[in-house]
């Protein structure tokens, strides 16, 4: 599969031209091995990839092919047994857990398949959380602003359980973008939604992504969704094919 060259005209790129700037994500020979009883099971085998600044990348593959594992490694939520991950030219896979957390703060956004909203927090409070953790003092206005942008301006005080699945995922998207991250990772964001709602959510994500100029890494098994990305990486049994 030939990588699709990003159409720079449609992307608001950061001040530097993309050709000189280091790639947003650079993964080299990533391997992940998990113990399986006595034996070792390789669930990700020697995967290398590069994601340019502002690029959107889809990771596709059958269930169990290692997509989530790869996403976890790229996002620094998990550590590879072999290989390295760098964000904007800085190797992060060798950082300490806390140093890594600091790098994530405000720079990386997540959208999960199972929304991962805190049930006791209102929509607004859920969106405020990344800003509050980073110590921002305009958390409330910015969160409110983002809820407006995802079309939930009227639902700020609702608890997750009072929202539909699509609405919950939109809150999660607002939360992912609120801190103006440079990279957003999404793991099957439509996996728990019906087709129409899924499409709306995807639309929203791509729109925001374009407006913000973020780099997006999207895991999905939906090829149609994947085709909307600049580029696609296909996994099978832990290997890029």
């Amino acid at each position: 599969m030939t990588p699709v060259i990003p159409d720079t005209a449609t992307i608001k790129v950061s001040s530097q031209p993309s050709s000189n700037a280091p790639p947003a994500i650079q993964a080299d020979t990533l391997s992940r091995v998990v113990p399986l009883g006595e034996r070792q099971l390789t669930i990700l085998d020697n995967v290398s990839l590069t994601v340019a600044e502002g690029e959107t990348l889809a990771i596709v593959g059958a269930s169990g092919s290692g997509k989530t594992t790869l996403l976890g490694l790229l996002a620094g939520l998990d550590r590879p047994n072999h290989g390295s991950v760098a964000w904007h030219g800085e190797t992060v896979s060798s950082l300490s857990e806390d140093a890594l957390a600091k790098r994530r703060q405000g720079a990386i956004g997540f959208v999960f398949q199972s929304f991962q909203l805190l049930p006791a927090l209102t929509a607004l409070e859920n969106v405020m959380l990344p800003l509050e953790l980073a110590g921002a003092n305009d958390a409330q206005t910015r969160a409110q602003d983002w809820l407006n942008r995802v079309g939930l301006g009227e639902r700020v005080d609702h608890l997750p359980k009072q929202l539909s699945g699509g609405e919950q995922q939109r809150v999660a998207i607002a939360r992912a973008f609120v801190a103006s991250p440079s990279i957003v990772f999404a793991d099957e964001p439509t996996g728990n939604l019906d087709t129409d709602t899924g499409a709306e959510v995807v639309e929203l994500m791509f729109t925001l992504n374009r407006e913000q100029g973020t780099t997006l890494v999207l895991v999905t098994h939906d090829l149609e969704l994947a085709s909307r990305c600049h580029r696609m990486v296909r996994l099978a049994r832990g290997k890029v094919i």
């Binding site: 989530t68 996403l71 976890g72 620094g76 939520l77 998990d78 857990e97 806390d98 957390a101 600091k102 790098r103 994530r104 703060q105 405000g106 720079a107 990386i108 997540f110 999960f112 199972s114 991962q116 805190l118 049930p119 006791a120 927090l121 209102t122 409070e125 959380l129 990344p130 509050e132 953790l133 980073a134 608890l159 359980k161 793991d187």
Partner: protein
Amino acid sequence: MNLILRFVRRELRSTEARILVLALALAVASVGAVAMFADRVKVAFANQANVLLGADAMISGDRPLPEAFTQQALAMGLKVTHSTRFGSMVSAPAKDGGAAKDSALSDVKAVSSPYPLRGEIEVHGANGERVPLKANVNAGEVFVDERLATRLGIKAGDTIEVGKLTPRVAQVFAEEPEIAGNFMSASPKVLMANADVAASELLGPGSRATYRLQVAGDRAQEFADTIKAKLGPGQRLETVRELRPEVRSTLEKSEQFLGLAASFAVFLAVVAIVLALRRYLKRELDTATLFRTLGAGQRQTLMHFVGQFFVLALIACALGVAIAFAAQAGLAFAVRGLFASTLPPAGWMPLVKAFATGLVLLLGFAIPPLVALSSTPPVRALRRDMPTASGGGALAVALGGAAVLSVVMMQSQDLKTGAIFVGGIVALVGAATLLAVALLWLIRRFVRSGKLAMLGGARSWAYGLANLDRRRLSTALQIACLGLGVMTLITVGFVRTDLFSAWQKSIPADAPNRFLINIQSEQVDALRKLLPTTQGTKPAAFYPMVRGRLIAVNDKTVSAKDYSSEQAKRLIDREFNLSASSTLPPGNKILSGEYFSATEQGVMSLEDGIAKTLNLNVGDRMTFDVAGDKVEVKVTSLRKVDWDSFKVNFFALVPEATLAPLPKSYITAVHLPAGDNKTLPTVVAAAPNVLVIDVSEIMTRVRSIVDQVASALEFVFAFTLAAGLLTLYTAVIATQDERRYDTALIRTLGGTRSQIRSALIAEFSALGGAAGLLGVLGALALTWVLATRVLKIEFSASPTVWIVGFAAATGLTLLAGWLGTRSVLTTPPIQVLREGA
């Protein structure tokens, strides 16, 4: 910090956080309420006992007391009275020019008005009954007791000589309230006015006298505590506790019983906290994961959770303290009729302690899991089923144990009790785990063997039991918590019934209530015939007694100055009563060394409390001055004396041969039924030198305290029981969420309601049965330890309590489980499933 507070506000919306706060608040409330109430009861008892002092508190000194003490007492709104006590010869004036005058060494007390502050001076009425005397000792007057009146042959209206004065005898009294200190004092009593002391010229320089300040009022205890720090040399705070061993023993046991109730409340608090925490922490795991993915470092996450938890704990403890205050007020109101006087106001200390208890327990148990929580790998956001670091393992056990130990010590201020409790918990948790494992193994075999199927239609039972096996860890924890709760409640039942009545019985109805002292050897036979026989047949026993002053220990001269404790100083200042017995008296127990044989010489057996006070041990040599003769003895054994029996007991016993050459008198004790007005006058007529000491007043006090403890315990234990049942309910429904989800799932898969019902019944009966078994065994062990090691009373265990305890544990678990899960049978399963596991 702001974020923490904002989070606490948000957290409090969730059921888990609310349950945690509520469970904690309840735990703190029951600890606080019980401790506070027990405290008030204890102070009430101490006050009642202090009536024997004639005041609520008494300070005495070898020289006149500083005026500042009196000012302080007045400033605290207390009633005060001063008295000066000394020994003096008192004589009846020679009659009609006769040469010889009768005189007697008397115990003179010069008092100011009003006197006494507590209790009453009593006189004999026309029919031999005792009536309180409402009169003050005025200047120029004296009150003398019946002993002196008999001795000197005087009556009211006569005059006597006291030093340079010749006051008029205004009253002849039977007893005055201050009977605590002079139990064995051989001298008759005289009360005179303080104002007359100077004119009597009795107290010249160098004369021995005790100057006392007696106070009474609500803040007497507070006054005593303040003054304690200001006491100079030769000044001391007198309490009945230190003066009367029977009273001390009674008060101590009462306090132990009440303290036990408070410790049980702590036990239940531990169960409640552990369970509520588990549910809460499980939920917080998601928050922690999210924090980590959003870039919060491990430190930041930990600080956040500890901070948030601390604030929640503060809220809960404050709430608990408020409930405690209300609850103890309720308890006090409920028992208002039971006490001789109104309960003294509550002190704040128990509430402070309860607050600290909650905080220490909560943080002790929560910090290890919180540390584990904050190191949650962020990848858990992608994989919810990731194994997570569990409770913190050894650290959690160690910190939790330390928390419980410090709390129990804070409550009982006694390392031994604390160690017993912590040991009990550790043993129980260990036993629970073993039992749970064994039980689950049996269940697995049973279910697989197919025997269950033969019992007919029992597939759902098999499923219910298999459920327990599936949740092995929660099951073990649940059994442990339930077992701990059941153990506590059964033990409470035991303490209330068997142990308490064992103690009550230790004061027999026919315990001696009169002590006769100063009997001469030649009078013994005559008196034996006059006195009622003890236990129907045996003639009263007469014990020889020699008074001696301790002058040296291990050849080193001792004086009061060598000792720092007030009690030790007093012992050195006063005379010891030495007695002889060739065998160990019944009710005494050798703690160390061996009781001397009849042939040994120069040896002594000492009561263990007095030995501790004087810092003496087996092997030490003591030298006494007995009427000018030096008697040297070696301590060869330490004894424990059963003061509760009210029998004649001695601190110091020597072989009969040691006592033989010394000047001695005899002592005996009899039980005179109320209304017996004849025996004593005959005795006094036959032997006028004999002094009769009435301890019926002390016994009445002690008995009434014991009875009141019984009533108070009834209420306190009922309260503990209620708190315990609530805790057990929490324990049972702890795994309710999982169970609800599972049950709903089974229903979607076609399980019928009756199948689910049987499964739940099987599950809860097995759970309750295991907890009941564990609780009964634990209670048996705990009660035994309490009886033999802490309360030192006979261990008895009635099987009814066990059986009832076991049956109730099983039944109540079933009931609570049923009530907690029942709703799942009536809600549509889809609703439960949508809410998630």
